[in-house]
Symmetry: C2
Subunit: 133 residues, 2 copies
């Protein structure tokens, strides 16, 4: 099968700078952070508003892509699980899904949260969350 | 910024064969379909079970990637919206998110649904859905 190439549309600016410091999920105490969308893609933000609930898709750039099984939540006493049965960032295509609320908008910068991804994480897509998603 | 390369982990086998026939969202009458995961990634499925609720991430291979604004739901009377304020498949990185339930498992084939993506759509990730997602 062919490969597919993602173009980052922006980057995350977060107070979290190390993977070891990041909560495992946004709802586990993650901070707010800024999505800085590149000028080239800024027209795609039209219509977004404070209070919107979004799904942000990131490229988890520090992930290991050759992992197929892992101990969930890095608990070595837990049985190994297939990576597709976990939310581990270490997976063949290291895409992160983050359900966030828009807190502020300044031009092509959106403050969102909570989000557990670290500073410098590339953003590859932004979508409105559907009800129940 | 650099580009990032996705490797398909499998392919969708669906009775839907044309984009024009596909519902806009799974919950709008979409059928069940089979995820056929490649042998190379089959170990990643360990632990998945019938009844699990998953987020399937697809590569919407028929999408147009140069679209930044669109009329939501292809309604030409609706005002133009930024692509990141819509779920249109036409977007810079044409990733589809599909919340599905596992109906059957046969080795490395998973029957899931409802899912509105068309036959032959590449699958790039599978994750367990979090509560409220």
């Amino acid at each position: 099968m062919p490969d597919y190439v993602l173009t980052p549309i922006g980057v995350l600016r977060s107070p979290l700078t190390r993977r070891a410091d990041a909560p495992r999920q946004g709802r586990e105490g993650a901070p707010d952070a800024w999505l800085e969308v590149a000028e080239l893609f800024a027209a795609g933000l039209a219509g977004l508003a404070v209070g919107d609930v979004l799904i942000v898709i990131t490229w988890l750039h520090q992930a290991q892509r050759d992992t197929l099984q892992t101990h969930p939540r890095n608990d070595q006493t837990a049985p190994l699980a297939g990576i597709f049965a976990t939310r581990s960032p270490d997976r063949p295509n290291p895409l992160g899904l983050h359900r966030v609320t828009v807190r502020e908008i300044e031009g092509r910068r959106l403050k969102v949260g909570p989000i557990e991804a670290i500073d410098g994480t590339p953003i590859v897509d932004i979508k409105p969350a559907l009800a129940g998603e």
